[in-house]
């Protein structure tokens, strides 16, 4: 076994002593956590993340990873992604996503109008043009919320099952790590991903975050929830005003969920209301993802989705998530400083350089065959 000294001690601002990591142990330092993708874009990110995990062979029975996507558009079921030249297309397995059963706005409005608590939702919904959710919610967050509420028992069960599995893995890893006298990484990181300018994710991300928080608390799984939201500059929509409206409202709501979570109230169709205690912020960070980094511009949503998947992969599958938490100083004071607005935002950028054996072998084979065929054909 090759022993390598991890130099993070030298840079750790906290000055806390950590471990010497072997390469294997570095692998063992995968964080507990998951990726939760809402709407078309979230689904895409989840599929990319799944493809990367698959490529890396990380999705075995001992994986502490949850991948779950929810979407209203049924067409996403067959969506596949390719990681690059020479790679096979990958589709998200059915157990990793849920397509919310299609309902018309009228049906959803009827459901909402039945209860006093949800009547407000229903009244809003009546102002939305009549349509079915089979092809998506048409960029209307209120329809996204209603679709979520209509399917909340099933979605909630998925969230619960995922977190329960993570908790189990967490316990096993704790035992395993104790055996090796290594630090126990107690915090799980949940990344909720989607398009802030869309409808499905916009309407359902905060309820999902709320449920993650709730189940984590119940299972005794310390959790940090990170919201990764695509900004309208990357969103595929022609209605820029609608996208801007959705984005602004969503980011304001997400910020409110951090600053004043007690203001977030979700009324379910069964008459229950989900409330939050003051100080129990729903998101630990809000990560906006735009089209440009100031130096380069993303080509399209696919590229953005792949980049986000990579960033989450880097955070979850390497020690980065933990190290990053340690290296930034405590932000409580920063969050209180409102001179420049709410300071719960976090930005990420990722670059990956890798030896892609599949692509390299494919390219080398093509070059070799071209050389031979050219020579045999006298084309040199």
């Amino acid at each position: 076994m090759i022993n390598r000294f991890n130099h993070q001690n030298d840079h750790n601002g906290n000055g806390s002593s950590r471990m010497n990591l072997t390469t294997d142990n570095a692998k063992a330092r995968r964080s507990i956590g998951g990726i939760w993708g809402g709407g078309t874009f979230g689904f895409l990110v989840c599929t990319y993340f799944y493809a990367v995990e698959l490529m890396k062979g990380l999705l075995d029975d001992t994986s502490p990873r949850s991948i779950f996507a929810w979407e209203t558009a049924d067409a996403m079921r067959a969506m596949s992604v390719t990681l690059g030249p020479g790679h096979e297309p990958v589709t998200l397995p059915s157990e990793m996503f849920r397509i919310i059963p299609a309902r018309t706005n009228q049906e959803l409005a009827t459901l909402a109008l039945e209860s006093k608590n949800t009547r407000r939702y229903g009244e809003k919904l009546l102002r939305v043009p009549e349509a079915s959710t089979a092809a998506g919610v048409g960029g209307q967050p209120i329809v996204g919320l209603m679709a979520y509420l209509a399917d909340s028992p099933s979605l909630d069960e998925h969230v619960r099952a995922c977190l329960l599995a993570q908790r189990e893995r967490h316990l096993i890893m704790q035992q395993s790590e104790r055996g090796k006298s290594l630090e126990v990484h107690s915090v799980s990181h949940q990344f909720i991903v989607g398009n802030a300018a869309g409808g499905t994710f916009n309407g359902s991300a905060i309820p999902i975050a709320s449920r993650i928080k709730r189940w984590s608390k119940e299972f005794g799984l310390p959790v940090k929830i990170h919201l990764v939201s695509l900004l309208p500059s990357v969103a595929a929509t022609h209605d820029r005003d609608l996208a801007a409206r959705n984005c602004a409202a969503f980011l304001r709501t997400a910020s409110l969920a951090c600053e004043k979570p007690e203001k977030i109230r979700i009324h379910l169709f069964n008459g229950e209301t989900i409330t939050h205690e003051p100080g129990e912020c729903l998101f630990d960070s809000i990560i906006p993802w735009g089209v440009s980094s100031g130096k380069i511009t993303l080509g399209n949503r696919q590229q953005a989705a792949a980049d986000i998947a990579l960033a989450i992969y880097a955070l979850l599958e390497t020690p980065l998530a933990q190290i990053s938490e340690e290296q930034f100083r405590d932000g409580a004071k920063d969050l209180l400083d409102r001179r420049n607005g709410f300071r719960g935002f976090r930005r990420l950028g990722v670059a990956r350089f890798h030896l892609d054996d599949v692509r390299n072998n494919y390219a080398a084979m093509l070059a070799g065959m071209e050389t031979i065929t050219h020579q045999l054909l006298g084309n040199e």
Partner: protein, 602 residues
């Protein structure tokens, strides 16, 4: 293009004919001819001479007896008889046994047939078959050696084309020769028939021995000639057959080569298309990061290695030219690439092998690609909290880390040990970023604020009241002018009341304890700045008041207040008027009107 025939051992027709011609005569034909000639020479020589001599003796004796007994009446008849017997004896002695010769000739004919059609043909055909097999091996050997040498296939095909043409010429020649030989054979056969007929005629006429022998010899000679002609024809026939087989082999080989060439061309086109596609895809880079080495480097290195070891490839598929071309080639190339270790096995190995320009390209890629994907407009003076993490196998021992660190300018750079030696992650992260700096969010929020409440409402979901979101502005900076603006507008709208004691209070709040929130204009502004609730409350009240009045009334009020001197202390009057001026402008008022007023009154 030179023909391959000399290489295959075929210089001209003679070489083919020599290959086919039996080296020995299995039928022993020469001896049989000699024997026949001898037979003709001696045929009937024994008994007929004896009988002839006997008749001569008897005839002589009878003549002699008649001379002795000439006195007797028998003398004359005996003498006459004796005289008759002498020529008869001479004739008998001189005559031969034509029947025996005829029988012998018939036997000889059978011998000729056997010598021509059986043994000779059998051996010639065996020679031709052996030559065909041998040639087959030769051409296969040639093909293999040409492939092994990596000779261009079109050149091989052209050579085979030329060879096929040469073979066609040879085949034409031999066919022509064969036709001539057949004609000659036919003529000889007719001559034989004629000589046989003449012999039979003479034989039946009981001609003299000399004549019979002469004709018999002619028959034998003609038959011998016929055998020669027959054998020559057989040789030509077998040679023609051999040539045809050789030609078929060459054509078949040519077709194989042509098919191979076709497959190669198709494969080449397919490879080019795939390479083009790969290059195009790689221009946008793999969606999950930049693959190393660059595609051009992979192509160059693989080309170099495969070129150097091409003999292995040529050798490997020389036996599989007709099928499995792709599989055989792939297998051989894969082995070469694996053996030569074309691709680096780790990032460190790639870095070690890369030249400066490639390293610089990677570092530039990090510079441009690893920045956070959301444009911000940093507030001057605010210190950003940014860290760039380099996840590399070995952490700080990664050879690229120091250079990444050096190029990261103001960003704090940290190395993190990464388990996978084949990849390098660079993650830049900023935390505690104010919403007001997120350019896109701020722009969206402005658009949102400009929308009607009905439209805004459909985007607001999980709060009890829409105003919780409409009035909540995490993206707003605390503008230093904002408290002054609220104070002035509060005074303008009547929501803030200024007392004679320079105290400021909210309208309707009369509780003496909290009735006023400040004393003095500056204190009032400070209170609004520091008390967020007061600030929000005032803003709401002012907005409500102005909404109730309507835009025109507000503008009128601004215009009228603009000339009033007692609304605020004289010391703050310039700031007061400036704020009014800005508000007037913001609400769509004509600034020139207000400026006119100000010029007259101030």
């Amino acid at each position: 293009m030179k023909t391959l025939l000399p290489q295959f051992g075929i210089t001209n027709l003679d070489t083919i004919i020599r290959r086919v011609t039996p080296t020995s005569d299995p039928s022993d034909f020469r001896q049989k001819i000699a024997r026949t000639y001898r037979f003709i020479a001696v045929a009937g020589r024994g008994s007929r001479i004896v009988w002839g001599l006997a008749l001569l003796v008897v005839g002589g004796c009878m003549i002699a007896g008649s001379l002795l007994l000439y006195v007797t009446p028998l003398a004359m008849p005996v003498a006459i008889l004796g005289l008759l017997l002498i020529p008869i004896g001479i004739w008998v002695a001189m005559s031969c046994d034509a029947k025996k010769i005829e029988t012998q000739l018939r036997l000889f004919e059978a011998v000729c047939n056997d010598a021509t059609n059986n043994s000779w043909r059998t051996q010639a055909e065996a020679n031709a078959n052996a030559a065909t097999t041998e040639f087959q091996e030769t051409i296969h050997g040639w093909l293999k050696s040409e492939f092994a040498a990596g000779k261009p296939v079109p050149e091989m095909r052209d050579q085979l084309d030329t060879t096929t043409e040469a073979m066609t010429q040879l085949t034409t020649d031999i066919e022509s020769n064969l036709a001539a030989a057949n004609q000659k054979l036919k003529d000889t056969r007719e001559a034989l028939q004629e000589s046989q007929a003449a012999f039979r005629a003479i034989s039946s006429k009981k001609s003299g021995r000399g004549r019979v022998r002469t004709l018999a010899r002619r028959v034998v000679a003609t038959a011998e000639e016929l055998v020669k002609q027959g054998r020559a024809t057989i040789i030509l026939e077998c040679s023609a057959k051999l040539l045809r087989n050789v030609a078929e082999q060459i054509i078949s080989t040519r077709n194989t080569v042509q098919n191979f060439e076709g497959s190669l061309r198709a494969l080449s086109q397919e490879i080019s298309a795939k390479k083009r596609e790969l290059t195009e895809l790689s221009q946008t880079e793999s969606l999950v990061g930049r693959a190393l080495p660059s595609l051009a480097d992979v192509f160059d290195r693989a080309t170099e290695v495969v070129s150097a070891n091409r003999q292995e490839v040529f050798g490997s598929f020389a036996d599989h030219t007709d099928d499995q071309l792709r599989e055989t080639m792939q297998e051989a190339i894969e082995k070469i690439i694996t053996d030569a270790e074309v691709m680096p096995k780790s990032f460190d190995a790639w870095w070690a092998a890369a030249d400066d320009s490639r390293r610089q390209m990677l570092l530039e890629g990090i510079d441009t690609g690893a920045n956070e994907f959301a444009v911000t407009k940093p507030i001057p003076g605010r210190v950003q909290q940014r860290i760039r993490h380099v996840l590399a196998y070995g952490g700080t021992t990664c050879p690229a880390f120091e250079q990444v660190k050096a190029r990261s300018n103001s960003v704090l750079c940290r190395a993190v040990n990464h388990a996978d030696p084949t990849e390098l992650f660079v993650v830049s992260e900023s935390r505690y970023e104010p919403a007001s700096e997120i350019v896109e969010f701020a722009a969206c929020a402005r658009t949102f604020s400009a929308m009607s409440p009905e439209i805004q409402s459909l985007a607001i979901t999980v709060v009890e009241d829409d105003s919780d979101i409409i009035d909540y502005k995490p993206e707003s900076r605390s503008d230093p002018e904002r408290p002054y603006r609220l104070l002035v507008l509060g005074l303008l709208s009547g929501e803030v009341v200024r007392t004679g004691a320079e105290q400021y209070r909210e309208r309707d709040i009369t509780n003496p304890k909290n009735g006023h929130f400040a004393k003095g204009f500056e204190d009032a502004a400070t209170s609004i700045r520091t008390d967020a609730e007061l600030c929000d409350r005032l803003e709401k009240r002012i907005n409500r008041s102005f909404e109730a009045e309507g835009q025109a009334a507000v503008l009128n009020r601004i215009r009228s207040t603009f000339t009033t001197n007692d609304v605020v202390p004289a010391a703050v009057m310039p700031r007061f008027r400036q704020i009014l001026l800005d508000e007037y402008q913001l609400r769509g008022g004509n600034v020139a009107d207000l400026s006119g007023v100000s010029l007259q009154k101030i």
